[in-house]
Symmetry: C2
Subunit: 389 residues, 2 copies
């Protein structure tokens, strides 16, 4: 069981700063994360066919395996902006490098916000000047500059032996990451080689961010990067991976709970599936079903929808006679049939802030958990005017 | 171009009746469709792993290739009700057969409504008595008895030579049919053998109902059946298939336009795809994207979301440089980049009752059209309390 620090703090040698540079009317819109020394680094990016310019550049940058800093802006995502967009992303890396006295190819660039609008690069270049003098130790300060529809900044930290791991993320809508969530940065002072870091990051993401979905839509800007500056020396790698994964899962839950318009964190646990692929597929199908999500939203014990959602996984092995289901511990389905439960009890269970839906398939040994949220009028409201507002 | 009759009418020898038998407080909840003579028949059912009892029975019934009648109730779907549910479906067929003086295995049974609630079979058995005397010629009367969240009864008809084809359907939510929409019945007086009828039905469905999605959720009760009683004699089969398909597409549009909470009919046309599978997959992905749907709902020209939705089809061939997109005829994307269009013009185009999104991939020869609707607060409202209300 991982214990998270309260409040979260950075590892040795990691600091951040954030500012409003005029992309948003007043809220912070530019963040720098900086390591005092070069850090081993790994990153995973969106699989969307229309990656943003920062992703195109980031794939190139991360090949070196070394980062000193991350510069990230919100409001404009620099996606679908062509060659000019990539040139702007390079200018953004160069501006941060100049300000920090490092190399541009040691700076990872991220942009998040509206797709298809040119990046106001001059505002960023002017705005970053002087930020090196403002670097400080509160991870929430960095988290603030990357928020879009997030209702609060998101940061966590935990210890592994003498080392610290810190997670800073943003994300609220357009979330069904495929390889990483919107933007998630992980910092540690443990000494770990880039290749090991990359493998551990992919393992942790597979059980956390890649099992998160707010709305089935995959961002063109998804990025999850990890920096290990080594200032705390080597750590036990098994313990590190365990804590890394636990923090990624916890951050996944925080992102799900803050899904656009969300009022509940929804977790779908599938067990007894034929294999991993089917366990993950069915968990996501139930999690993403609008009818399951609205059932949770309305605390309406319309539990047949759980079977509907499992049943629409045509290419998975499902045996009605061995299918059971529970809602926050209350069994509602046995052998593919709805049990005659007390409506009021299940209705009450559905009002909890965290709703666990458990599906036992009785088919094989595999299990998976998917994370998300309910579907509310707030989601409609935010997304019917996101571009215009 | 198919011309539909106004108002719609039945083919020779087809009649219907509907009643309230006490499943709903006052609205009609039981329908009979009857052919004066035995009709060649074919049907396609849901692929959901948890088919309703009427589907289990219907697959057995349709093997005979002959139907005289359809009995369908709304409010309760008789799904996830086990062996008792199947026994109730058989009793429902038998009750209709007795009332009409035919065989139970010539009666197709459908039930639609809440999943997992026992069917009040006694009310249906008592309620069907005397309905034979009420049979009449208005297809809307039959359509009324099968409505759930539909806002209006749905029927169409058209001529093929001397024959008539009539479509009666219901459907509003839990619609991403896989093999058929919620409930759709097609009647004709053309003389066509069951095997031919089955092949033509599958062709027509592939281009219509199976390209419809309201919410990505696949009903456990999907049924599309066709009855051909032959009273008009043989027809030109190519002409018949063309009209059959046109009516299925038109009914698909009617169902999409009446999707739960819908304010717009949304059509996504994909062309230049590598092959049929990819054309259909991408069209559905764009159609089902909550962010595209809310963009249409809010008439918010956030057109980058079109690229996001195409781009998340990881396993399809997509080339950003050859990707173009239009909204109701206005080009908004060229070569994977957002064009500098006039916001007000595209905003205006998005307020149309029918919104056509066109994506040209420039990859291959295949095309497909998918049908659906926008995502609104009305959808949330209806589905957060469907069971309880």
């Amino acid at each position: 069981m991982t214990t998270f620090h309260s409040p979260p703090r950075f590892p040795r040698g990691i600091r951040c700063a954030s500012r409003n540079v005029g992309l948003k009317p007043a809220a912070k819109d530019l963040t720098l994360f900086v390591s005092d020394v070069d850090a081993a680094a790994a990153a995973v990016f969106t699989r969307n066919h229309f990656p943003g310019a920062p992703i195109i550049l980031g794939r190139e940058t991360i090949r070196g395996g070394t980062l000193r800093a991350i510069i990230a802006n919100s409001k404009v995502s620099n996606v679908a902006t062509g060659a000019a967009g990539v040139a702007n992303a390079r200018r953004m890396a160069a501006a941060a490098a100049t300000e920090l006295g490092t190399r541009a190819d040691h700076v990872l660039v991220s942009s998040t916000g509206v797709i298809g609008v040119p990046l106001p690069i001059e505002k960023i270049e002017a705005g970053v000047v002087g930020m090196a003098a403002e670097l400080q130790l509160d991870p929430f300060v960095g988290a603030e500059g990357i928020m879009t529809t997030d209702t609060h900044p998101k940061a966590l930290s935990a210890s592994v032996g003498d080392a610290t791991i810190t997670w800073v993320a943003k994300g609220s809508g357009m979330i069904e990451p495929n390889m990483a969530t919107m933007l998630a940065y992980i910092f540690t002072d443990a000494a770990i080689a880039p290749a090991t870091l990359d493998a551990m990051l992919r393992t942790a993401i597979g059980r956390s961010f890649n099992m998160l979905s707010v709305d089935t839509d995959t961002s063109t800007s998804d990025t999850c990067a990890i920096l290990a500056n080594g200032l705390a020396g080597p750590v036990d790698e098994a313990a590190f991976l365990e804590t890394l994964t636990a923090g990624c899962v916890r951050m996944t839950e925080i992102l799900g709970r803050d899904g656009e318009g969300a009022e509940h964190l929804l977790r779908v646990h599938v067990r007894g599936a034929r294999d991993d692929r089917e366990a993950r597929f069915i968990a996501k199908a139930v999690l993403n079903s609008p009818l399951v999500k609205t059932m949770v939203h309305g605390a309406d014990p319309n539990v047949g929808r759980l079977l509907m959602a499992v049943g629409k996984c045509f290419d998975c092995t499902v045996r009605p006679a061995s299918t059971d289901a529970w809602i926050n511990g209350h069994q509602v389905v046995r052998g593919g049939e709805r049990l005659a439960f007390e409506d009021a009890v299940v209705r009450e269970a559905l009002t909890a802030k965290v709703v666990d839906l458990e599906i036992a398939l009785g088919v094989g040994p595999a299990e998976a958990t998917a994370y998300g949220c309910d579907l509310t009028k707030g989601y409609i409201e935010e997304n019917a005017s996101y571009y215009s507002s």
